[in-house]
């Protein structure tokens, strides 16, 4: 991680793709279009949650319904959010290392990013386990919990897909198919990973922090 080193990883004038009318590779433009469509997907899920968040049912018939935020463990989720946030840093360092043809650095940062992603997913699995088995709030408990699991579950699925992409990139560095000559492959995976982080930034605030 050289201080003076310049990342320069997303220069529009990469020479590692055929000429296009936009000056961007089709793969990169395609990823951005995909991420734009994902905004609408997660927008729908977040809106559904906001619509149903007050629709909780009492634990016992005739009892008082407990709002979702009273069940959340904010300290734990904050730690998970920090882990995912830091994975964005390690991801960008992996992209930067590859642009500098530092294959060893790229492998280390890709591996660290994947590990941080796994930590986040482990935290989510633990959180779900607590909600379902300790508190008794399953997927079908009430509209609010269904919307919560749909939103955070979809996000978790995206993180899991991201981890698979990271591990694949890591494997490809060993076979030589990902190297300093084609840094855009890792850059595109990085875009997806950062987007997953961006979505969590929104989910963390709207779902966990706003009561």
């Amino acid at each position: 991680m050289s201080d003076a080193a310049v990342a320069g990883v997303t220069h529009a004038d990469h020479a590692d793709h055929p000429p296009t009318s936009t000056g961007l590779s089709n793969e990169k433009l395609g990823m951005w279009v995909f991420l734009g469509s994902e905004c609408l997907l997660f927008g729908g899920l977040i809106s559904t949650f906001l619509l149903y968040r007050s629709k909780v049912l009492p634990d016992i018939p005739g009892g008082t319904a407990k709002p979702l935020h009273e069940t959340f463990n904010i300290a734990f989720t904050s730690a998970s959010s920090f882990v995912l946030l830091m994975s964005s840093l390690t991801m960008v360092l992996a992209v930067s290392a590859l642009a500098q043809r530092n294959i060893r650095g790229t492998r280390i940062w890709l591996a660290v990013t994947a590990l941080l992603g796994m930590m986040f997913i482990s935290g989510q699995v633990y959180e779900f386990y607590e909600f379902v088995n300790v508190n008794g709030y399953g997927l079908t408990h009430s509209p609010a919990w269904s919307a919560f699991y749909a939103l955070t579950g979809f996000h978790g699925a995206h993180v899991t897909i991201g981890i698979v992409m990271l591990v694949t990139c890591l494997a490809l560095t060993f076979s030589g198919r990902v190297n300093g000559d084609n840094p855009e492959t890792v850059e595109i995976v990085g875009l997806y990973w950062h987007f997953v982080d961006v979505v969590w930034i929104v989910v963390f605030t709207l779902v966990y922090l706003i009561k």
Binding site: M1, S2, D3, A4, A5, V6, A7, G8, V9, T10, H11, A12, T22, G23, L24, L29, W32, V33, L35, G36, S37, C39, L40, F42, G43, G44, I46, S47, L50, L51, Y52, R53, S54, K55, I74, S78, S81, F82, L85, M86, S88, L89, M91, V92, L93, S96, G190, L191, H194, F195, D197, V198, I201, V202, T205, L206, L209, I210, K211
Partner: protein, 123 residues
């Protein structure tokens, strides 16, 4: 919002506008993001918000939304390189984001989610 991030992210210089941030700048940006997250969590626990209604509630939620947007813009601009890449990408992504926000705010307004009298959807 641009002014705040420009002041906070001291490592991003004019030279970087052409070449992308350095690794040290990325670390600084991550520290800024971590600090904003800590402020966000602390903000949500401030005792002044207990039973907040009206203008107080708007201040509580507004503060959280502002910090959320700041983190969003920093990650998209610096980590996703939208600030340094071809403008067409920023236009594409932010247009999709704004479209999503407008569409779903309209949907939520139609279901009177923002009304304190009838919060949420009642079938």
């Amino acid at each position: 919002m641009t002014d705040v991030s420009a002041n906070d992210l001291q490592g991003v210089t004019d030279a970087e506008d052409h070449h992308g941030p350095t690794d040290r700048s990325f670390v600084r940006i991550a520290v800024v993001l971590a600090i904003i997250t800590a402020i966000e969590v602390a903000w949500s626990y401030l005792p002044v918000w207990d039973g907040a209604e009206g203008a107080k509630m708007v201040a509580e939620i507004g503060g959280l939304l502002l910090m959320m947007m700041l983190k969003f813009v920093i990650v998209a601009g610096w980590f996703m390189h939208l600030k340094f890449d071809k403008p067409i990408l920023a236009r594409l992504f932010y247009a999709a984001f704004v479209l999503a926000v407008v569409v779903y705010v309209a949907v939520l307004a139609a279901f009177e989610v923002f009304s304190t009298a009838t919060p949420g959807y009642t079938p």
